[in-house]
């Protein structure tokens, strides 16, 4: 009897967990050839009968005591999940059968709860970076865990790795501050990054006197052949202007209005992506070098990894459209941002919003591809948030 009673005591919490709490959202992690694939698992329980979704695909299954089973069918492949529910979450094995493969694979899986949104007031974090990353990687350990609504005040080094005191802290190539782990952010969500402050924190910037090859036609290339010598600019924060420190003959009185921006705002890319260098860009954001990413702007990025893993860096005191010399006025920056998470929203492209404009950022191997991506992304935005039909989208975009 005692033994039987003990069994009941032991079982009760598991049954309660299964019936009372396994319903809802989980982060499902599946091993794929040694790589973690993270997806959102949403479960509904009706007695012992289980239904739900992995990402946007349907599953069905059952729960008996602490044992959970569910099946995902996609195309010719079937994944049979079997696992055990414990206080820490769920874990088990998948039997993956595919018409094209002779014998099924048996990778492991696990799932853990996403914490509910924290109650209480948002927090402001003062973050002093001590290391900088040169890849937008999902495996860099988070430097800070923050919650939706929280604000982070921090600094970035310039594209060459120098900080606000001119000390080189890291090899160049857009080293990033972060990654910041945003609690509750899951694959399929959108990370919202409101840039409250994007300000200079030193009085000089580095640049050069070349034009990148892909912007040159042959005749102009010959003319520009001696380019890419370093140029230092003085940043006058009082007057809000930049001027060359040792101006050449015809630029003796040349000043430009400072308009600080971030060349890089990124989340960690999704499964299957080897970590891209911080000179790269894509649907995850990255080195977009878009000169509307300034103080006051809001950047929206599609989350692909639990916690989103936000990176910021590559500040420019000012940049033309397209960063024709590949090195706008590169400088360190004081940055303050507030994050938020929009659950379950597919984004095809990064989005940027100012007080006057909504903008999509098309990133592709050619300008044609980039145009198509930006146009499709804007179409999706107008459909999702403004409820426009395809016909109405075209009328507005024309």
């Amino acid at each position: 009897m005692l033994k039987h009673a003990a069994l009941i005591v032991c079982l009760t919490p598991v049954v309660l967990l299964a019936q009372g709490t396994i319903a809802g959202d989980w982060v499902l992690t599946q091993d794929v050839y040694g790589n973690p694939l993270h997806r959102k698992l949403t479960l509904t329980l009706d007695g012992e009968s289980l239904s739900g979704t992995i990402g946007r695909q349907k599953i069905d299954g059952s729960v008996k005591g602490s044992t959970i089973r569910f099946t995902l069918k996609s195309g010719d492949a079937i994944d049979e999940f079997t696992g055990t529910i414990s206080a820490d979450g769920m874990a088990g094995t998948i039997v993956h059968s595919d018409k094209g493969e002779p014998s099924p694979q048996k990778p492991s899986w696990s799932a853990h709860r996403v914490p509910p949104r924290r109650t209480g007031p948002p927090q402001r974090h003062e973050f002093v970076p001590t290391a900088f990353h040169r890849q937008f990687s999902a495996t860099n350990p988070p430097v800070l865990r923050i919650w939706p609504g929280d604000t982070v005040h921090t600094t970035t080094v310039d594209a060459g790795g120098s900080d606000e005191k001119g000390v080189t802290r890291v090899l160049g190539g857009n080293p990033e501050t972060g990654p910041f782990f945003v609690e509750t952010a899951m694959p399929g969500d959108v990370l919202v990054v409101r840039l409250n402050r994007v300000r200079l924190n030193r009085d000089w910037a580095i640049s050069d006197d070349g034009i990148v090859g892909r912007a040159l036609d042959p005749e102009f290339a010959v003319k520009m052949k001696d380019g890419f010598k370093n140029v230092r600019w003085h940043l006058d924060r009082q007057l809000g202007v930049a001027r060359p420190e040792n101006p050449p003959e015809h630029l003796k009185n040349f000043t430009l209005p400072i308009r600080p921006m971030l060349g890089c705002v990124a989340v960690a890319p999704g499964f299957g992506s080897a970590p891209p260098p911080t000179g790269d860009s894509g649907r995850f954001g990255g080195n977009m070098d878009f000169n509307e990413i300034v103080e006051g702007a809001t950047v929206y990025l599609p989350v692909s990894q639990p916690g989103a893993l936000l990176y910021v860096g590559d500040g420019h005191a000012l940049q033309g459209d397209g960063e024709l010399n590949g090195n706008a006025l590169e400088t360190s920056m004081e940055v303050e941002f507030t994050v938020d998470v929009i659950p379950n929203k597919p984004l095809m492209t990064p989005r940027v919003e100012s007080s006057t404009h909504i903008m999509t950022v098309g990133l592709g191997g050619t300008l044609e591809d980039a145009l198509r991506a930006a146009t499709a992304g804007m179409g999706q935005w107008l459909e999702q948030d403004y409820n426009l039909t395809p016909s109405e989208i075209a009328m507005v975009l024309g």
Copy 2:
């Protein structure tokens, strides 16, 4: 004696013409397989010895009485010009020898004087178009001959060929008003077109609800598959806004601020170009569809034909960046422009100048080509008019 005296009388004007007036600028026209090739011929005379240029190539020769001879060497080819000077100009034959060709060709040539710039005040012309052209052609007869400094007030039909009264006057495809022959404009010069007025002259525009294929990715293309139905917009000139005449559900209260622009400003393209349709564009300008070509802007185009042959048309009440639906708010227009000619200035691209910006228009088969053309053109502008070195150009463009 009388006979001899008569000979003297007869010779004198020719000698005077040769010595006193053949120096200076001429329009040289050469027959090339039945096509007129127009170039600027500049002559300097020292006794009987002749020097000068055709375009940017040097010539040398001689004048004896009414006979003129000069030689142009370019690469392996030699052109020997022989001709006769008369009160009407000069004309003769070329012997064209080329290493690669077995026997010399003997095309004809002629040259006539460019009139000196007119003295006296500029004129304002009220021009009512009666016909419209669908090709940017050098062979369309000029509708009006005007002088540098002159102003023309006229109208254009919409891209579909309808005028301010809604009467269809011509088949669609950006029919143009013009060509206007600008006296003194010669190949190698720049035509300056200041747009004093670009105003609506009716209260409706036509558009559509599609997105052009080259801006669509496959997913967006599927979504937009039912597009390109006609859409009529009401243009409220009092309030300065446009709205759909029969707004669909989500655009019931949708208005856009009117900003009239010209999709087409062009000169006739140069030698070797079969006349392009008025949907085309290039170094000669044409259907640039650039939404900064508005009232107050100045357009600079490289002249390739005597008189430049200016065309204007394709008015839009408003257009987004890139005319994504291929048919912005197409409407007829009231246009007033003032022309000027800058002699001897090579332009790689059309230029547009506003009160705040200088802009080059890159036109190419791909966006990459267009970017390279626009960048090179801007580099040339900064070099020509701002005396910047290549290094300084890069600093300013970055």
